[in-house]
Amino acid sequence: MKKPDLMEMLADVRPASLTPEDDPRRLDRIIAAAARPSVVAEPVPRPGRGRPGWGWGAGVAAAGLAAAAILVPGAVGDRSAEPAARGLLLAAAEQTVNAPTGAGRYWHSRGVNSASPTDRTSDGLCRDETWVARSPKDPSWWIVHSWTRLGDVKDALLPPEKGVWSSEQAHFTCVRGRRAVDSTDGATPYLQRLDAFAEPGSSWPNVDGRVVSLAEIDALPTDPESLKEVLIQWQVPGVSDERRDEILFEQAAEMLLELPAPSGVRAALFRLMADLPDVRSLGGVRDPLGRDAVGVARRSSCDQEFGGELQVLFDKDTGRLLSVKRLDGERGCADLRPISWSAVQESGWTDESPKVPADRS
């Protein structure tokens, strides 16, 4: 008999206290509280929350206030990127704004990606192509030509019984930006429908998890403040100003790396990043493919358990995005280590179509 998996064991011990009591009037109370205009409008300071035993009605009122503060996109803050980073980003915006946007049936990009989890050995680069269809009627594809092979656990806590680790855990992965796909056999080419992801909610394109259409991308404002308002609307509500800025940087990096935004929008994304606090310059660097680049970076959650840093590397002369690199820390930002990077080799609109086997098209 198969021994139980730890996650299955954990699922089996789910406490009964996680189940809410029936309360037929709860829904009406929520709607009444949510619809109460005074709750949203009055700028009352946040009380000392969290006293156990508060009635939820009071909590709803306070949440309304929090939501009101959150729902209004913030004005430009006093703080922006450090001057050197700001200079690099504004220069990239200038170079990008008049670049031709191009046209075609598919947005095609070719890339190289690396994933190196801190606790597994990894070997090899993932080379891939992304084909995003202009028309929603055509399929979009992610094609993997080579995989990163993930190997054994490096620092397991108990020794192996026979002195060697099983290779059963080894598998193949490709991590591009915020998306990832795995394979057990490493066969290539591997084709993944992007607009019908096996995992619901992962449909493509998306920005920070929010599904977007190419029509929405095309229609994005080219003024950085208006663009920022739209991106904040795309975020999950309820975040602090600090976290909002962190997500904005993520959204901008993801859109520059992955999405066919018109050149005016790309320029606005660089300007938006230039206006974000805590963005610092990496100066002149080489990107993971050895290309000359300049870079900016932003750290996040350094005071929390899991810190991180996102680096955006681009061409100094053209503003073209070259790579996005992600670092992760287990003790805030004290032990940041690179865990993945994605590079763009070429990208643009084309009238060509992806080569897809007949049984998949």
Binding site: K3, D5, L6, M7, L10, V13, R14, P15, A16, S17, L18, T19, P20, L27, I30, A34, A35, R46, R49, G50, P52, G53, W56, G59, V60, A62, A63, G64, A66, A67, P117, D119, V153, L157, L158, P160, E161, T173, V175, R178, R179, A180, E199, P200, G201, S202, G209, V236, P237, G238, V239, S240, R243, E305, F306, G308, D328, E330, I339, S340
Partner: protein, 187 residues
């Protein structure tokens, strides 16, 4: 006056997702705060019903997570959560007879879970208790799917270690097959 359309949609959303949002809130902040957090989450949902993605649960849990972080003092949340964690373990005590082994195993796992950091516990329970796929759990905690896998793997190892230590110390007696399965997961 509330239009019937949005109200029907919201009612369906509430029926489908309230238990999960409440469960998430209990696991992050204990029963004392969970009702309040879950209700606040649905207040935000009511106002943002038009922005809600088709896959609503990760979005809702993301909102609940933000409310917990932004609206509650850390010490109040910790206090409420500690009561909850203690209650999970206590619920498994004072049992004898045939079911005692299973109950002991259950208590050991819950105690091991309670020794983990808040972050590790969240990563594990999003998948194990709240039924999210890794890609959706990643959305809730605001990281990439790849990063989530790395963190989940680490959290799982720490849970395994906590369980193994508990077994070795005799602090909790695990049935041998459970310990085997823990060891198995290292291979």
């Amino acid at each position: 006056m509330i239009e019937p359309g949005p109200r029907d949609r919201f009612t369906a959303l509430y029926d489908a997702c309230y238990p999960s949002v409440y469960a998430y809130a209990v696991s992050r902040a204990g029963r004392q705060l969970a009702e309040e957090v879950a209700s606040e989450t649905f207040c935000v949902a009511w106002r943002r019903i038009d922005d809600m993605p088709d896959e609503a649960l990760p979005w809702l849990l993301g909102v609940a997570r933000n409310i917990l972080r932004e609206s509650y003092r850390a010490d109040a949340r910790r206090q409420s959560l500690e009561s909850e964690l203690a209650a999970w373990a206590a619920a498994s005590e004072h049992v004898t007879g045939d079911v005692a082994d299973a109950v002991t195993e259950r208590a050991a796992l819950l105690r091991a879970l309670a020794t983990l950091s808040d972050g590790d516990r969240e990563l594990l329970t999003l998948v194990a208790w709240h039924g999210l796929r890794a890609a959706d759990a990643a959305k809730v905690v605001g990281c990439s799917t790849a990063t989530y896998f790395v963190r989940l793997h680490r959290a799982r190892r720490r849970l395994e270690r906590a369980l193994a230590i508990a077994a070795v110390d005799g602090a909790s007696v695990l049935p041998s097959e459970s310990l085997e399965s823990v060891k198995e997961s290292f291979r």
